[in-house]
């Protein structure tokens, strides 16, 4: 049979493979997925001079285009529209940088960003899907750790997951994130190694 299509470009290939990991992780909270290596490396640094987690940024960007909006934060501060990284993302995706309450996507470059959860849209009863999806960079997701205990759809009974380098207050913020089903925000935790953990609004989280 003749193939009538071009093979995917490196970015398209990343987007396609990354999506399957995101979908799998969101459908199976507690399962640690492995994102493919990001298709770029030239990201502008964060305000403190450190580079952002390129895999987390690339995973977030894989879902951005001209029809959606985003915010991003370093520490507990939203980064301004004219920050080089904001412009870098906007230029490559055509997504609109907006204020937190209106954002379809939020990239939180470190766990301190958990303090900003309350500012994000959780949807409405008529349109619970009009909520924010969050990509949160964390130092490390442990394969067999016991930091959080999870329960809910996608989990046969309970699941446990380990997080390193996340402060107790930040863990508490994750456990008590806005999630009043069907409203809520959906989280992806992504570490420096490209490991990924999905926490949809349906997951009940308990800090162990």
């Amino acid at each position: 049979m003749t193939i009538v299509a071009t093979p995917p470009t490196p970015i398209e290939r990343f987007n396609g493979l990354a999506f399957r990991v995101l979908l799998d992780c969101l459908a199976r909270p507690g399962k640690v997925g492995h994102l493919p290596p990001p298709p770029f490396a030239d990201l502008p640094p964060l305000p403190d001079g450190t580079p952002p987690n390129a895999t987390a940024v690339a995973a977030g960007m894989s879902l951005l285009d001209q029809t959606v909006s985003f915010v991003h934060a370093a520490g507990e501060e939203w980064l301004p529209v004219d920050h080089p990284l904001t412009r870098w993302i906007a230029l490559r995706t055509n997504a609109r940088p907006v204020e937190a309450a209106a954002a379809d996507f939020a990239l939180l470059h470190d766990p301190a960003g958990t303090a900003l959860f309350g500012e994000l849209a959780a949807g409405s009863l008529l349109y619970p899907e009009r909520s924010c999806t969050v990509f949160l960079s964390v130092p490390a997701i442990a394969l067999n750790g016991e930091t959080l205990r999870l329960r809910g759809p996608g989990i046969a009974t309970t699941a446990t997951v380990g997080l390193r380098g996340v402060a107790p207050t930040e863990l508490a913020a994750i456990a008590s994130r806005p999630s009043q089903f069907p409203l809520g925000i959906d989280l992806f935790l992504i570490d420096q190694q490209g490991r990924c953990l999905g926490l949809p609004r349906t997951t009940q989280i308990e800090v162990i």
């Binding site: 049979m1 299509a5 987007n15 396609g16 999506f19 979908l23 285009d65 609004r201």
Partner: protein, 288 residues
């Protein structure tokens, strides 16, 4: 077309923006099990009502490494399954299979395969009518409000009336279920036999309604309960003593076919999941 025809289309036909929209909506669908998520639903080279919703999902999730199975009425060789498989493979080059166990993505119309699906597989269902409230409230604006308030009283009345009139819950296929104890969901025209397979399953179920422009999902290990009454519990089509005329299975969904023979022909009841039936026949022949 010229020699350059292999440059004509995108990988998986849809442009990247269309895929991205569907991917975003799929994530919402998984996060809100059973909730109907609206999506733009692009025009496709196949007609509305012929699987455009399922097809758009498959084209948005498929990667070059996938192995695809497409079935219609449980059959890989049904003409529409052939047609959809042809479109997907011609625009992706992915490998195909008829073996449920070998597939990573299965796109289906009207059936869930008999062989239990695993956690590393995805079932994509083509959906004609997305909203189970359509029977009792055709107006979308009002039906959306009813879903938002979990106001399903009208549906229960409808079910009750069918019990009184017909002595049974009259809905044969696309049986309504409550997902995650919150949303009323249409199961697509799968027979009742397949409905229990949605409950606490290992696999992820994605539903696409192209003409109705809705996407929804049932994640694995999610509570899926058919609507039923204490004195009229949900029952599948199963009849004690039923048997497939070809493979002898006594626990599958059966359909009737006319089989021609030298005496003019006869009606035969066989598994609607043709690949499963063939696999069993092959196994029996191997051991015989």
């Amino acid at each position: 077309m010229s020699e350059t025809s292999d440059q004509l289309y995108n990988f998986a036909l849809l442009d990247e923006d269309a895929k991205r929209e569907i991917r975003r909506k799929l994530l919402k669908a998984v996060a809100i099990p059973g909730h109907l998520v609206p999506f733009a639903s692009r025009d496709l080279p196949i007609a509305r009502g012929w699987g455009t919703g399922g097809l758009q999902i498959t084209l948005s999730i498929i990667t070059p490494d996938d192995t695809l199975k497409v079935i219609d009425q449980g059959d890989d060789e049904s003409v529409n399954a052939v047609n959809l498989r042809r479109l997907i493979t011609r625009t992706t080059g992915v490998a195909t299979t008829t073996d449920t166990a070998a597939a990573t993505i299965i796109q289906t119309r009207h059936r869930i395969p008999e062989e239990p699906m695993r956690a590393d597989q995805i079932l994509v269902l083509q959906v004609p009518m997305a909203d189970p409230l359509r029977w009792v409230e055709p107006n979308l604006e009002r039906a959306t409000i009813m879903h938002s308030e979990a106001d399903y009283g009208k549906m229960w009345v409808y079910m009750y009336e069918s019990v009184v009139r017909a002595g049974d819950l009259r809905i044969a296929s696309q049986y309504p279920v409550i997902v995650n104890r919150r949303y009323l969901m249409d199961t697509t025209p799968i027979p009742r036999w397949d409905v229990p397979k949605l409950h606490m399953a290992d696999t992820l179920y994605l539903f696409g309604a192209g003409r109705e422009k809705r996407i929804y999902a049932v994640p694995p290990y999610t509570v899926v309960e058919p609507l039923q009454f204490e004195d009229y519990p949900f029952r599948t089509e199963y009849r004690p003593g039923q048997r497939c005329a070809r493979c002898g299975a006594d626990n599958t969904f059966l359909t009737e076919h006319f089989v021609s023979d030298s005496n003019g022909g006869r009606w035969e009841t066989t598994c609607s999941d043709a690949a499963y039936c063939a696999k069993r026949v092959a196994q029996m022949e191997a051991t015989a």
